[in-house]
Assembly symmetry: C2
Amino acid sequence: MTVRIAVVGGGAAGMAAASRAKRLLGDKAEVTVFEKGSWISFALCGTPYYIGCRVPTLDMLVHYPLEEFTRRRGINVKLKTIVTEVDPGARQLRYRSLATGEEGVYEYDYLVLATGARPRVPGEWLRYRNVYTLHSLGDADRLRATVVRNDVKRVVVIGGGYTGVEAAENLARLGRRVILIHSGEWLLNKMLDHDMAGELMERAQNAGIELVLGHRVTDIEGAGDIAASVLLDNGERIDGDVFLAASGIEPNTTLAEQMGLKIGETGAVWTNERMETSIKDVYAVGDVAETRDLVTGGRVWWPFATAANKMGFVAGTNIAGGDAVFPGVVRTSAMGAFGLYVAATGLNEEEARRHGFDAVAVKVKAPTKARYMGEPGEILLKVVADAETGKLLGAQAVSSDPSSFWRVNVIASLIWRGATVWDLFSVDVGYWPGLNPVWDPLTIAARLFFRKLGTKP
Amino acid sequence: MTVRIAVVGGGAAGMAAASRAKRLLGDKAEVTVFEKGSWISFALCGTPYYIGCRVPTLDMLVHYPLEEFTRRRGINVKLKTIVTEVDPGARQLRYRSLATGEEGVYEYDYLVLATGARPRVPGEWLRYRNVYTLHSLGDADRLRATVVRNDVKRVVVIGGGYTGVEAAENLARLGRRVILIHSGEWLLNKMLDHDMAGELMERAQNAGIELVLGHRVTDIEGAGDIAASVLLDNGERIDGDVFLAASGIEPNTTLAEQMGLKIGETGAVWTNERMETSIKDVYAVGDVAETRDLVTGGRVWWPFATAANKMGFVAGTNIAGGDAVFPGVVRTSAMGAFGLYVAATGLNEEEARRHGFDAVAVKVKAPTKARYMGEPGEILLKVVADAETGKLLGAQAVSSDPSSFWRVNVIASLIWRGATVWDLFSVDVGYWPGLNPVWDPLTIAARLFFRKLGTKP
C-alpha cells in the first residue's frame, strides 16, 4: 500500500514537507507537488538583488534544480499546475495545467497546503502593464526586464517594509530615480521603533531615494493600460514610469477556504504545533499557516522563510508517522540595505506596550570590536524587557557590521528560553578583540537595565 | 565616615571593581588601587597583535588612560607598587613602591584581590635574557623590541594554546622563522576536539610555522644568560634566537595564601557568586578567582577578560551595599589566527565524556550564507549534547567568517538556559540571505541530532 501525499505549493515549506516525508517513507510513499509557477524551491528573499543585477540569473535563486527533487529524491512535480478544488471528504483534489489546459484528479491520503502568501494589492492597480508586484521569480524577471530599459527614469515604490526598502535600494543602484511611498511614519515601522530607524532613512536618502512617509496611496491613475501616477491620501500626485506595489502580503487562503479549513484569528490557516489543520490528515505550512507567538502567547502570522522550512520539515515528519513540533516563533527578522544590517526579535517597545507589558527599554550605541584591532563599526542596539519580571521581550539592532544580526540572535535565543535582563548580563558570550569589545554591547545593555530594575531579580 | 576600599591589581577585574564601587559610593568611599606594573586597565588579549605590529603603540592596549580613573572617577592609583603583606585581622596591608622603594601601610574596610595570573614557567628558564613570557604590556614591549632586530631569525614558541598560536602567527608575519612546540597532539587541544583543529594547523603551516606537536620541552640550554636551544622529551634539540614560553598560566595566589584565603579545588581563590572569599569583606575577582562551571556544576578556573570584568562589577556592586551575582560561566572562548575565527563553548566531546556524560556529537560543514549573495564562507560546526536528556553541552566552530563566533554564542546562550537539541532546531534565529543560509548550520546540526535522539523530547 503506497501512501499518497499531495503538496499544494512548491516553495520552501512545500518542498521541505515533500522532501522530508519522501525521505522517511521512501518507496512506501508517492509524493506529488502541484506548483502554479515555473519554479520550485525558490528564494523569494533574493528577488530584490536580482532586480539590482547583483544576482545575475534567475536560476541562482532556485535552491535546488528540479532534477534534485524529481530524479534524486523521487518526488513528482507538476509545474504550472493549479489546484482548483479540494474535496477533503473524498480526499481528492482537482488540478489544471496552465500550460496545456489538461485537467486531472489526484487522490491523496495526506494533503499539505503550502499555498504561501500573495501581494495585498487592489486588483484594479494590476490592470496597468507598468504596475508590478514582487512575490515570485516571474515577478522579479518581468520587473528587471522593464527597469533596465533606458526610458525608465522614475520608479515609484509603494511600501516601506523589507521588500519595498530592499527593492528601492536595488532600483536606485540601477541608476533610476526612486520615490518610496510608505504609509508608516518611518521605514520598517513594523519591525523597528521610530528611534531605531534614523540611520536607515538617512542612508536611503543619501542613496538618492526620495522618501514620502506617512501617506497612503489611494489610487493609481493612467491612460489605457499604462499607469502615470499615484494619488496620495493628501491629494498629491506622484508621477512615475514604473510602479512597484510592495505594500504588504496576505496569506493565500483561497483553497483553504474552499476546503473549509479553519482560518485563525490572524487570517491565516489555523494549525497546531504538529502543523495539523482543523481537518484530519491535512497540514498547512509556510506563509499560508499561522503559528504561536511565544513572547505574547497569542497567535501570529509570520511569513518568513526559515519558519516555513521548519514547518515543512515538521509536517513531513509527522505525515511519515514521526512526532515533531514547531512550537512557534519569537519573531526574529533581518534585512540588509544601504550597507546596514538591520535585525529585530520579539516585541519592539511600542508593541510591548500595546500588548499590555510594563515595558522598559534601553539603548546602546557602542563600537562593535576593540578599537586597537582596526576601525570598529558601530552598533545601535535597543533591548526591551518587562519591568515587573525582568523578562526579555525583544531587541532591535542596526549596524554596518553583521554582528547586529548575531547579537539579536543571541537575545532571540535567550527570549526563546524565557531569560531575563540578569541573564543578559551574566550569559557567557565570548570575547576576542577582533570580534567584540570586552564589554559587549549586550552586556552594556544589561547594565543599563540594572539602573532601572536592580542588579538582581 | 569614609569607606576605604583597597584593590590589589589594576587589570580588567580590579579596575572594574574600583570603578563600580566608587561610582555607587561617590565621596563616601576612598578607593585605592595598587598595581605592580606601569599600566592599568590593560588589554592583554591584544599583546600578540602588538608584537606583530598590527597594534602600533602600547598605549592603544590601555582601555582608558590613567587620568580617566584618577581625575574623572576619583580613584587613587599607585603604579609600580606591590602589596607585600595583608593582615586581614587588622584590615591593613603593607605596600612598597618598586620605583622609589617607599613603603607604607594602608588600612581598609574592604579588600578586592585582583592579582591575576602569572605564566607557568620554570624559574631557571627565565635566567636567560632571550627567553620571554607574554603576560603583561611590558612583556609585549620587550619581546617586540627584540624580535624586530635583524639578527633574530628563529623564534621558538613553547605552547599551542591561544597565546602561543596568536603569538606564533604574529611572529611569522614579521618574517621570522617560527617553530611552535606544543605538548598536545593538536593546537588548541583544550578548546577543540582533534577533529576540529585541522584547518587551523594547515593554515599555520602554510604561514611558514613549523609545528612540533605531542612533545614537551624539558629544558632550555644556553651559554651564560643566552639560551640557544630547547630540549624535548624525546631528546631532540631545537635551536632558536628568541624563545617565548607560552605554555600556560596559573592563578597568582601568593598574596591570597599569605592572607590565609581559602584556595579552591582549581588552585584559584575560592569565591561565592557574590565574589566574596572565605574572609569577610575580602573579595577576589578576575584571573585569581575561581567560579562555577554551569555545565558540569563543578568549580572552574576561567581566566578570561569578560568574566574578569563582570566579576569586578559584581564585587564593586556588593561592596557598595548592592546585591549582584556572577553565577559562573559556560566557558565560551574565542580566538583568531591565520584568517580563521575559532570559538567554543561548554564541553567539547572529549571533555563531556570525561565528565561522565553520555555525549553525542554532530558535525556540520556548511556555507555561511546564501550562495547567490556572493561567494560564501564555510563553517565547520560541532555541537555536543547529552544523549539521555538532549541537553546541549557544548559547541565548537571554525570559519573564515566571524559568524562562527556568533553561532557559538547562540549555543552558549541556549546552554546558559539549559536548552536541548530540540530548542536548537526551533529557536528563532533570523535569516537574511546575505548573512546565513535559509537552513542555518545551527538548524542543520539540530536535524543531525534528530537522527540520533529523535525529533521530540
